[in-house]
Amino acid sequence: MMARVNDPELTKQRLHLVVEEMYDRIVKGEPPTMTLPVRTKNNIGFDKKLGVYKYGKKRSTRDATSLGSAKNLLRALHVVEFIEEMIEAGKSSTLREMYYISEAWGLGKFGSQNESNNLAEDLEVVTSCLREDFKLRPEEDGARMIGNVTLMELNRKGQWMTINARDDVGDSGYGLPYNVEIEKIQLKEHDVKFLMAIETGGMFDRLVENGFDEEYNCGLIHLKGQPARSTRRIMKRMNEEWDVPVVVFLDGDPWSFRIFASIAYGAIKTAHISEYLATPSASYLGITSDDILAYDLPSDELSKKDIEALNAELTDPRFADGWWQDQINMMLEIGQKAEQQSLAKYGLDFVTDTYLPEKLEEMGLA
């Protein structure tokens, strides 16, 4: 199982292996290379032991025979050097800071922040370290949470603060930090029957305003679209440490299906740490393709991109089970998608008074 290496020397050793591969190839009179697992849906498989999807055995070699990959190798070397410097100086930086620092790397500078993020992930994958080991922090902010759960967070002054995410926060809830590991966040106690992850801010606020968390005794988490690592990690921790079920309430479109897959099965991009981020027992509440018809929801026609995404999902191993195949095929058939907030067709309270109770009852949670 992958875990924090939390050992600077071991991290450096593993990074050196990457550098050695390049160096040795040049010495042999060959183009330098970097070998890493293929990071596409064609190379993820279900790990029965862990209950999540992980990268398979396919490996790709990035070699310096084209300008693009050669630049990538050079960048990797710069990043390795930069990480070593940070480890030695006891510093850390955000991915964005690294992107700007790369301005000084001449030929090895990044073209976009996406490139630097991807390279950091590449190095994680190759070395089996986490970016925390690399002293790199994400830029993305974590989720908001409301509900009767009590956490302890180590503040800037090094003191543990106890926060109840219902009584000690305002309407916008408790904002999770980017690091939700044990050294930063401790789960103290809770009185919730389940956690509900919600895609859009509008729906999160609706449920808060309607007092849904208190009425149904649950925790509400705003995902902000594709959830950050820390969001997925805290859900995983609460699910494991407290044994609280997680339900996921998203829009009814192909992209939401992907969000769910990344929460429950692991994301393709981060399949090397799926067991650390994914919550295999999470269940999809809605909006399902059935819901669009059953509730006669106002819907939009699928775009060309939507249809492409749905077709891609049909061959995605994470959606291989019958229920998902049905949902995807049905959406393709009706050619429509619907947003969470389309439930407002029947009034502002419909979602909390009718839709969610009905769905939760089906799931045995209400």
């Binding site: 050695e20 160096y23 330098p32 030929l107």
Partner: protein, 717 residues
């Protein structure tokens, strides 16, 4: 000032009022109206000339305020260019527009040229008479006129501001210039002179003006920018008149300058007689009536081109007329019969009378090199492909199509390409969609040549401009506005063919560019990135920097040719440098060949490697045993060329292993070039006078054959 005049009344249209003329489709030119206006005046009809003007202003070019100022500039500048061409003077033209009255849209236009000037006694005629200086039978390529010439401007000016037009004119043989104000007596169609004096005309630098004309006029008008503007008109004019120097000062005081890029004046064109295939009934009637020839056969032979003595006799036979018929006494039915014989509707013994094609030396194309220069002075870009087709004939009218395409970074990539249309060197600015020239562009599937085009139809999109010029003795327009060419299958096909050839040139260029970019990338990889990887990895591991030679050979595993053609400002030469790298693990040997502008009198200098001439415009070198990791240099310069004349060199190779950055030589094509060269040498011996025309250009390594473009790359690239 010599468009073809076909008088409507001679065609049996008699007592026409100007507003009726518009309905007659085939009038083909506004000059008829002018003719009628004169006729009206001479008939003493009391129709105010202002009424005539008002009724016809849409095709006189004064139908809207923005267009009026363009028309006025056009009339003046066309006159200047024509006068300079006639007098063999390199034109220097200045145009200035100022706002004379902001509230009332009154503009003041001043145009000045360095033409021969107008003698004092002719000024009234040129500026104040509706019909002046035209010949009947002369058929030749001419700029023609938008409306009724400069007189229209004088008239419009007077009608809208009540002010006369000021003319300053100096001819070389007189020490002083004449200064005079010209107005029009709109009832009598007569010029009214006032304030005539003689003055000393000095240039801005206080030197004496030798000769030229300056016209200053106030008129109602609106200055606009954009595709239909004075600016665009002058810009386009400068493209197709590379021999002219044009300066324009706009109402904001902004100065635009289009420099002269060649000292070569357009060829003086000869007038030709009409060809039987291109004649209409009215014209034939008039010619019969006016001729002094007493025999029909002589009349036919002497007044038409393409008619031999034998053909004249056969035509008479076909028309069932005696050769000795007196043309003047021919009855309408006889004339109609002759016309039918002309058009092949009557024959002799089942055979249509064979006529020779009209001569084509009456055309004055701009020619490829000058189109190139014209385009590159107004549009800053790297790649230009041009094509002047051989002259050909449609319905007895000689014509010639020229096209140019400029492609590059300076232009918008996501917009339709700019279409620059010209007829006899006159820019066409309106009615783009309805024009034959546009349609021929739209008929080409430009996607195969590297431009975007939705569905393979319509004007393509991309960072390019397409120029198309029709030179013809008889330009057919869709309407009297003279802004769009009417459909003509032969002209359409010629234009389309020219587009296709040019498109192939563009594709070749883009492919080469792509290849070069790839080669550049590879060089960046091995020269910059790979050493950096080696150094950085060595530094992190604290080990020595490894040798790169093996990796480089593996990465490149090819022979690479790098070519640069650059203008050297100091030596005024074009420097060409070719480097051949062997990045394979074996020794290689090649012949390297290049094309160079031998036909355009380029000279190869500083070629230290020697080599030998392989054919006209093709030079070759042997590169023996290039060891792995070695490189070979070839360097030379081209003199006797101007900047922009030669910007790309094609490199070819003979040898077994492919060379990245060069093309494999097609031996058959080299043979073809040598064969063509032989033909040309022989042709040159026979007709030294026509040298210029007989030479196809080898400028881009391209040989013109009957089937269009063939190249050293072998067939259709």
């Amino acid at each position: 000032m010599n468009a073809i005049i076909q008088e409507p009344w001679a065609m049996g249209l008699g007592r026409l009022r100007p507003d009726v003329i518009r309905t007659k489709e085939d009038l083909g030119g506004v000059r008829h109206v002018a003719g009628i206006a004169e006729k009206m005046a001479s008939n003493q009809k009391q129709i105010a000339i202002s009424e005539f003007f008002e009724k016809n202003k849409h095709f006189l070019g004064f139908d809207s305020l923005p267009r009026s100022i363009i028309t006025a500039v056009k009339e003046s500048v066309d006159n200047s260019l024509d006068a300079c061409e006639e007098a063999r003077i390199l034109p220097d033209i200045k145009v200035q527009i100022t706002k004379a009255d902001l509230k009332k849209d009154i503009l003041e236009l001043t145009t000045e040229d360095n033409g021969p000037g107008i003698p004092q006694k002719s000024i009234e005629k040129v500026f104040g008479q509706l019909l002046f200086g035209s010949r009947f039978h002369a058929i030749r390529q001419s700029r023609g006129q938008q409306g009724i010439g400069i007189t229209g401007v004088v008239m419009y000016s007077q009608l809208t501001t009540g002010k006369p037009t000021h003319v300053l004119s100096k001819i070389a043989s007189e020490p002083t210039a004449v200064s005079v104000k010209i107005g029009l007596d709109t009832r009598k169609n007569k010029a009214v002179k006032s304030e005539q004096t003689r003055i000393i005309w000095e240039n801005d630098d206080l030197t004496m003006k030798e000769h030229g004309v300056r016209v200053t006029t106030k008129m109602k008008g609106k200055y606009q920018r954009g595709r239909q503007s004075v600016f665009q008109y002058l810009r386009m004019t400068s493209i197709v008149n590379p021999h002219a120097e044009i300066t324009f000062v706009d109402p904001d005081g902004e100065i635009y300058h289009w420099p002269r890029v060649t000292e070569k004046l357009p060829r003086k064109v000869d007038a030709i007689k009409p060809h039987p295939h291109g004649i209409e009934l009215g014209q034939l009637q008039r010619m019969c009536r006016e001729t002094s020839d007493s025999r029909l056969s002589v009349f036919l032979r002497q007044n038409f081109s393409g008619v031999s003595m034998r053909a004249a006799k056969e035509l008479c036979e076909a028309a069932e007329l005696d050769v000795s018929t007196k043309p003047k006494s021919m009855k309408p039915d006889d004339i109609r019969a002759m016309l039918e014989a002309f058009q092949g509707e009557r024959d002799v013994g089942g055979k249509v009378v064979k006529l020779l094609s009209p001569p084509t030396n009456c055309l004055s194309p701009i020619e490829e090199m000058l189109i190139k220069k014209g385009l590159s002075k107004t549009i800053d870009s790297k790649f230009i492909s041009t094509m002047t087709r051989a002259p050909t004939v449609s319905h007895g009218n000689p014509f010639q199509v020229e096209v140019g395409l400029i492609f590059g970074d300076g232009m918008a990539a996501d917009k339709p390409v700019e279409v620059l249309r010209f007829a006899n060197r006159v820019p066409l600015m309106y009615q783009q969609g309805g024009c034959l020239l546009t349609k021929s562009i739209e008929s080409v599937d430009w996607r195969q040549y590297g431009l975007d085009q939705a569905g393979g139809r319509g004007v393509p999109k991309g960072p390019a401009a397409i120029l198309v010029h029709l030179a013809s003795t008889n330009v057919q327009f869709t309407s009297e506005a003279k802004e769009a060419l009417s459909d003509n299958e032969v002209v359409f096909e010629e234009t389309r063919k020219a587009m296709l050839e040019m498109g192939r040139g563009l594709r070749k260029h883009l492919e080469k560019k792509k290849k070069m970019a790839k080669t550049r990338e590879k060089f960046e990889l091995i020269n910059d990135i790979l050493p950096a990887i080696a150094e950085k990895s060595a530094a992190i591991l604290e080990r020595p920097v490894p040798d790169l030679a093996g990796s480089i050979t593996k990465i490149m595993s090819a022979v690479i040719c790098n070519e640069t053609t650059t203008w050297n400002k100091e030596t005024k030469q074009t420097d060409v440098s070719i480097t051949l790298f062997n990045y394979t693990s074996r020794a290689r040997s090649y012949s390297i060949l290049v094309n160079w502008p031998e036909r355009s009198d380029g000279e190869m200098v500083g070629n230290e490697r020697g080599g030998r001439k392989e054919a006209m415009g093709i030079w070759g070198w042997k590169v023996e045993t290039l060891e792995p990791g070695e490189k070979a240099h070839i360097q030379y310069s081209l003199s006797n060329l101007e900047k922009g004349d030669w910007t790309e060199t094609d490199v070819f190779f003979r040898g077994s292993q492919d060379v990245i950055g060069a093309s494999k030589l097609d031996e058959k094509m080299l043979e073809e070039i040598r064969r063509q060269e032989q033909i040309l040498v022989e042709a040159d011996k026979e007709m030294p006078a026509d040298k210029e025309e007989a030479q196809p250009t080898f400028d881009t390594g391209v040989v013109e054959g009957d089937t269009g473009q063939t190249t050293l790359f072998g067939g259709d690239v």
